[in-house]
Point group: C2
Chain length 355, copies 2
């Protein structure tokens, strides 16, 4: 047992203060009672020795860790880092600590991270599930007594609360704006891996948030009599190169696209860059809307129209709900929808074909 640190324990303090371990523990742990005089001498001894409580031992014996585990797709993505900030601030205010893990949007890594966190005995989990269809690890966690709140994504039959954006409504709102402006050839670009980059069925999309947006997109298209709108969805937008490819595809398509929806701000930025590089002017030649109010959307000219996802609030809300669960509230798990309004800025205008 190579215990490197010779830390001071309650027993040491007790000895120094000439009281029993139990009494010292009561004073230092802030539970039970002690006379004012012993309390003082214990505290004095603790200060003198530099006692620091061992949270591990405390958790061990109480069975509660004050830790909440968070699994996000990628902390480097501002969407998640802002949510993590919301989670972190809110948790801290409630005296909880936060352990962060990345899934890299890969199901097996998500499972691994959840398992690691459970072994760490986190009190609860906030997870942005990578794949709706494989949530057994989350079900198991819930069954074993660790409450789960899903972030940004909603899995109905999971039995966990979910905090998400109003994805279908936002898509509907954007589409209305675009349709009113005469757009008909509108593309939806997502990172989701679709066969050949094309969508054959909505259920191919494993992330509810994206699925709902695409559903809203297709519903709106359908409403204007466009039946083949599934062909307007492009998947696999994972990096610069793939996005350049998608943009090339859109620009040379026989459907002369006039507007593009970017499913997240990373994709949005790359699309913007790709369009600029090709000399396409916004909004004259093309309209662009991106999900998430990233920094970059305000410094482009024109600034980019966005769907504002207040992910700090997502995180905050998720923690609050988690805390409610930890306190044992037995309300049925449900979906908390946070409005994600469309904010029109300069990158969207009248369709060039009707202008």
């Amino acid at each position: 047992m190579n215990r490197k640190k010779n830390s001071i324990t309650v027993a040491d303090v007790a000895r120094a203060a000439n009281v029993s371990k139990a009494t010292a523990a009561r004073v230092l742990g802030g539970y039970g009672v002690a006379s004012e005089s012993t309390r003082r001498s214990v505290i004095e001894a603790a200060d003198r020795l530099g006692y620091q409580p061992n949270e591990l031992a405390r958790s061990m014996s109480t069975g509660r860790t004050g830790l909440i585990g968070v699994v996000v797709g990628d902390i480097e993505n501002a969407f998640f880092s802002r949510a993590v900030r919301g989670i972190s601030d809110t948790a801290r205010a409630a005296g909880l600590n936060v352990v962060i893990a990345n899934s890299g949007e890969r199901p097996e890594q998500e499972r691994e991270m959840v398992s690691v966190l459970l072994r760490q005995r986190v009190a609860g989990l906030i997870v942005a599930p990578t794949d709706d269809r494989d949530v057994r690890h989350l079900k198991d966690a819930i069954k074993a007594g660790t409450p789960v709140v899903t972030l940004d994504r909603w899995v109905p039959d999971l039995g966990a609360d979910g905090v998400c954006g109003g994805d279908h409504a936002a898509a509907t709102e954007v589409m209305e704006h675009l349709l009113v402006n005469g757009h008909r050839r509108i593309a939806y670009v997502t990172a989701v891996d679709l066969t050949d980059g094309r969508l054959s069925d909505l259920s191919d999309i494993p992330i509810s948030a994206v699925r709902e947006r695409v559903r809203g997109f297709m519903d709106a298209m359908h409403g204007t009599g466009i039946a083949n709108s599934a062909t307007f969805v492009r998947g696999g937008a994972v990096d610069s190169r793939s996005i350049d490819g998608i943009i090339d595809g859109l620009l040379t398509d026989e459907q002369r696209f006039t507007a593009i929806l970017a499913s997240d701000s990373l994709i949005g930025a790359e699309i913007y860059r790709s369009l600029s590089a090709r000399g396409i002017r916004l909004p004259k030649d093309m309209s662009l809307v991106s999900w998430f109010d990233a920094d970059w959307t305000r410094v482009t000219s024109p600034p980019v129209s966005i769907i504002d996802q207040p992910t700090y609030l997502f995180g905050q809300t998720a923690v609050k709900r988690l805390i409610a669960r930890l306190e044992g509230q037995a309300i049925p798990p449900d979906q908390i929808v946070i409005p994600t309004p469309f904010i029109a800025r300069g990158s969207t205008g009248k369709s060039r074909t009707t202008g």
Copy 2:
């Protein structure tokens, strides 16, 4: 003791497998020896019961938690979130877990967070210290046996390793570029709180990274015979409004500034926005350089010249050094400088006064 979770322990597995607790523990913990047959039956029993090791108890008894604590200024800042990603990826690969905390760049919150992490018995700390002059909490941690690596900032007398950028060199490089292009009236804008927003002494800057950059800035200015360069440093750039104020100040100053250095990418973005809003064109009317290669710097027109801080690498390097310390390497603590090259893009050009 309201132990909510009825988790399976080694004792349960041992009973089910008809062996002693010690033997089951040996098999499940992967230490010691056991015959092939008992090993099989223990594993079978563990699987059947759904045994999940309790990492807490394990840490309790071994004295090591595979946790590393990270305290950053703000995870929401891409500078840090990218570093955190580097830390997280590298730590994970080494079998360590990461606990993140925010200091909000406030010394007392930093102290609080460090204390919380120490109570959590993290194996090591990676901290971006908010104030060089008050690092007693870090010294105490080191003295108590928890290695510390500072991130982005270097505190010489701390006795900890530090991973930082080549701030002085980068400032020198940028200044050379600007001076060659005829700029003489160059402002340095930082979030650091200076009295009246003006710099009276370098030691007023509590963050080494910023101090070194300003030193490089002033050295270069001095090299061209400009003696009052301290008046070209503006502090307090903490939000949209303050930055608008600073820009107004610079534009109306009797010194007709022709170039601005932004000390981080948040400031850079706001300055860009503020300049655009005022109709100032880059690089014709003003040159702009920002530290950190944030997303937004590539989508502006012109794209913004930057000092590239590879913070993913910062994080990665910090973890590697921390692991070396954890393994007991007794090399003297030192500063690891990671080059942060200047990358000229469209936002910097010839000074309008010499053009």
